[in-house]
Symmetry: C2
Subunit: 142 residues, 2 copies
DNA sequence: GTAAAGCCTAGTAACGCAATAGGAAATAGA
DNA sequence: TCTATTTCCTATTGCGTTACTAGGCTTTAC
């Protein structure tokens, strides 16, 4: 599996925040309820996004999370690479294993490289605003 | 990780067999040595390929493995789908989880579907003969 | 008959994933 | 200042999958 729950949840949450950005700070509780994800698990995921400055978290009463940029400036690729660690389709292209002793003569390496580029290019071409439902684009603030 | 060692090894072995097909039956021992893969582990992988009729195994002295079709009739996609079970990039598209209760409204589902198609289409477009090293195409039989 | 090969069923150690637990620190409002 | 609400931080745990390993049986050529 290329993308685990962590990455999938992260993406859904980012879309959720984009859809509700007009409402300002959104507390984790609200996102978790809306998305049907355990609050504790979401905490981990949001922490990763905050540390990478994709979100900012406001503590205390009335706090919550907000996007740090407009939705069109996030790509799906960067969100997934961050939360998954890597989107490499095989270990051969991923950090540690890089520089396999057979890479010079490996007949399959090009397939993996092409696949890797295909995946990353596609996901880097999709931005968050493209995933926001049309009817949510202009939330009214109550 | 989309593709594990099982799929990677399977692909390398298939290429190896394609390169040496002129030599007839190739015993597991020889492939394992050439590819630097544990014999016992390779056994499992080859068993899967044989059961799917991608290879045939000849028992007894002088036995070994041969391709059942010409290399240009194998796609990388079918080899990997067989050995990996599935090439779906997310669990949402894979057997059990299919029909997630949120799929009707999921804003990210299209991304996964597109990615899935991209991956499978690419891998189905690459055939085994394209991975065979040029100098191995016409092995001399000794 | 024997050596060389594939076939078959288990078993196991290590790892990563998904989730949980418990508390510390910050903040707004009463 | 007290309290409720919220994020932040560091573990820990159960579970399934991956990557192998073990041992024995069957087939076949010489």
């Amino acid at each position: 599996m290329l993308v685990s729950t962590k990455g999938r949840y992260a993406l859904r949450v980012m879309v959720d925040l984009a859809e509700h950005q007009a409402a300002g700070c959104i507390p984790l509780k609200e996102i978790a309820a809306r998305q049907g994800i355990s609050e504790k698990y979401l905490e981990n995921i949001l922490a990763t996004l905050v540390r990478a400055n994709m979100l900012s978290g406001m503590r205390g009463k009335g706090g919550g999370y907000v996007l740090t940029r407009p939705p069109e400036q996030y790509t799906v690729g960067e969100i997934l690479r961050l939360t998954e660690g890597s989107l490499a389709p095989v270990a051969c292209l991923d950090g540690d294993c890089k520089g396999c002793s057979r890479s010079d003569e490996c007949p399959t390496l090009d397939v993996w490289k092409n696949l890797d580029k295909l995946i990353n290019d596609y996901l880097d071409g999709v931005t968050l605003d493209q995933l926001v439902a049309p009817n949510h684009g202009y939330d009214y603030v109550i």
